[in-house]
């Protein structure tokens, strides 16, 4: 049983266009989806949910969102943290204003609000490109955090300036608030990840994705064949912000439970998500997951290894971990600038010929 297309004949363009053209890949994908939905919820405990799975899933959504904008459409953004804050605060306001409506709708509407804000900040992208756009989005990041700090209406005039998620249920099961079970948190995030990743994949393989990539690769040529730049860029900002907003809403409501805007959604969050997509691979759905996994799992792994395994003091381990992650990022970028997704692609290409490479 070798890893290749041979014998797996495609007889229609629909089959030829599918996401996993190789049979073994398809099986692997079905297996992962099956394990994620049918096995992990029964095994998960609080530690695994809070340290590994829930942050991984939420950051995957944020990385997918930024990858749509930066990886597919080529518009660099440093405003991810700010847009996550928009999602979080929109979700908080909706949760407290309409407690009788299901939280799932609140989260989706929060994404919609963030999409609108993102498109507004995306308007300058028509005029400015590259680094200048990055600086403009960084301005959005600082402005939004400042706004949520300064205007008490956003945090319902609470004395601490924090927002705290009240308990909300889906089908009678608590998904936010202090009494949430680990598996419930995990399942909410997983469903969002699954649906959103599927939608992003569909958008990027169709004509919308080709418009984005055309603008990214050569905007003049894109225009000459009939891609009008304004809608193409704004849809990228819209879709991207929608995802980032949902990630922000989940991050606040399901993961943190309570958040202070500068701490939870500061510029470091923007850079973290940007690192994820650069390490994972720009312009790749798989890369978004790989990058999120790398940035979330590596610190956890190191901590367990150093503190749990070698018995180092916690503070020393924390500093060492920061240094090591930084060094690894640099090494990684030198060794494979196109990210984990490219490594994965190369591995698959090699595997297709293995064991007869000539």
């Amino acid at each position: 049983m070798f890893y290749r297309e041979a014998g797996d004949f495609k007889t229609s363009y629909v089959e030829d266009g599918q996401t996993f053209p190789i049979r073994l890949d398809r099986w692997g994908y079905y297996a992962i989806v099956f394990i994620a939905f049918a096995a992990i919820p029964f095994l998960i405990n609080d530690y695994w949910a809070n340290a590994v799975f829930v942050p991984f899933l939420i950051y995957s959504i944020a990385a997918l969102g930024l990858n749509v904008l930066t990886g597919y459409a080529g518009q660099v953004s440093l405003g991810t943290g700010g847009f996550m804050a928009v999602g979080a605060f929109a979700c908080y306001k909706l949760m407290t204003a309409f407690p009788e409506i299901n939280i799932v709708f609140h989260i989706i509407v929060s994404g919609g609000i963030t999409a609108a804000v993102g498109m507004l900040f995306g308007l300058p992208s028509l005029r400015i490109k590259g680094f200048y756009l990055a600086v403009a989005t960084l301005a959005a990041q600082f402005f939004l955090v400042w706004l949520f700090n300064k205007v008490p209406w956003f945090y319902n005039y609470s004395a601490s300036g924090q927002i705290t998620a009240p308990e909300r249920t889906v089908f009678g099961v608590a998904v936010t608030g202090p009494h949430t079970e680990a598996w419930a948190k995990y399942m909410v995030c997983l469903v969002f990840v699954f649906v959103l990743a599927w939608m992003v994949r569909n958008m990027t393989r169709g004509t919308l994705g080709r418009k984005w990539m055309a603008i990214r690769d050569m905007d003049i040529a894109a225009e000459i064949i009939g891609v009008s730049p304004l809608p193409a860029k704004l849809t990228a900002f819209g879709v991207s912000s929608f995802l980032v907003g949902i990630a922000g809403a989940l991050f606040f409501a399901v993961y943190l439970g309570a958040a202070e805007v500068g701490e939870a959604f500061g510029p470091q969050k923007s850079f973290l998500v940007l690192f994820m997509i650069i390490i994972g691979g720009l312009g790749s759905v798989f890369g978004s997951f790989a990058g999120a996994a790398f940035m979330v799992l590596l610190p956890v792994l190191l901590k367990n290894l150093l503190v749990g395994g070698l018995g180092w003091p916690t503070d020393l381990a924390t500093h060492f971990e920061i240094m090591l992650v930084g060094a690894l990022i640099i090494v990684f970028l030198i060794a494979e600038p196109h990210g984990i997704a490219q490594l994965w692609r190369l591995a698959k290409e090699k595997l297709r010929l293995w064991p007869f490479p000539h």
């Binding site: 939608m199 004509t207 990539m213 225009e223 000459i224």
Partner: protein, 279 residues
């Protein structure tokens, strides 16, 4: 040639070529175009027309304003003076993507492919103006989105067959050699099924074999799809063989216009560009 045996009517404004093809009326008429960049006049007071179904060449020395002329036609530059008439209607100043939607496609002198995308995706991108499904349909990949993808894929596959690039269908274009990239770029322009195809030096930097291939494709496009073609080219042998009529430019002015034979024997054109053969 079948048109030799059938005595077809030559439409108004058209003519019959020496090889028997029928050329129709005026498709695009450029009237007194003047284009300035600050103090530099790139194109001064040039008029010519492009007729339905013909292969029209624009030649001239470097810096004569040939590429600027194509950029005016495709909407990159808006001329300060002059009018562009397309399909019998005066064209207002349009953005390049609006020109594309009217049925004008082009290739570039320096290849302008989407390097990160496969050959197939590049050519599929040529069909964006025909894809109408909205974002939601695309996101859930249902109904119109998938149907459109398949319908357009069929058209694109015909172009891939036509250009004989089946083997590189799923290769990222950045990895392809120069000659093939030029061919993919032609494919992307053809995918739009244009009425008017602009080719900016389609054979620059090619060897003889590649030039012959490309010439064959250009003639076949004209013959099979009836596409009107305007091209810029420096290889005089190719230009004289391919084109029905030639415009000659020098320093932004038009110094000659006519059939290849007329142009070849025009003293002004010989002085400015062609030169004389030294025995």
């Amino acid at each position: 040639m079948s048109s030799l045996t059938h005595k077809e009517e030559v439409p108004e404004g058209g003519y019959r070529t020496p090889d028997g093809r029928i050329i129709g009326g005026v498709l695009m008429d450029l009237k007194d175009i003047t284009l300035r960049f600050g103090g530099v006049t790139a194109i001064s007071n040039i008029s010519f027309d492009i007729r339905q179904g013909e292969i029209r060449a624009i030649i001239g020395p470097n810096g004569a304003g040939k590429s600027s002329m194509l950029n005016v036609i495709s909407g990159f530059y808006v001329p300060q003076e002059g009018e562009i008439w397309f399909r019998g209607r005066k064209r207002p100043p349009l953005k390049p993507y609006q020109v594309a939607r009217q049925g004008v496609a082009r290739t570039f002198q320096n290849i302008a492919l989407f390097k990160g995308m496969t050959t197939l995706d590049n050519i599929m991108t040529g069909r964006v103006t025909r894809m109408k499904s909205n974002m939601l349909e695309q996101a859930i990949w249902w109904g119109r989105a998938e149907r459109e993808e398949v319908e357009n894929r069929e058209v694109v596959e015909r172009i891939i067959d036509f250009l004989e690039i089946q083997a590189i269908r799923k290769t990222p274009v950045g990895r392809l050699p120069y000659g093939l990239q030029k061919r993919v770029e032609l494919g992307r322009a053809l995918a739009a099924e244009p009425d008017l195809l602009l080719l900016d030096e389609p054979m620059a930097g090619m060897n003889v074999e590649e030039k012959e291939d490309m010439s064959r494709f250009i003639l076949d496009v004209n013959d099979e799809f009836g596409t009107t073609i305007a091209l810029i080219e420096h290889d005089m042998g190719v230009v004289m063989d391919l084109s029905d009529r030639v415009v000659v430019m020098d320093y932004g002015r038009k110094i000659g216009d006519g059939t290849p034979d007329e142009v070849r024997n025009d003293q002004a054109v010989i002085d400015a560009y062609l030169g004389v053969v030294h025995e």
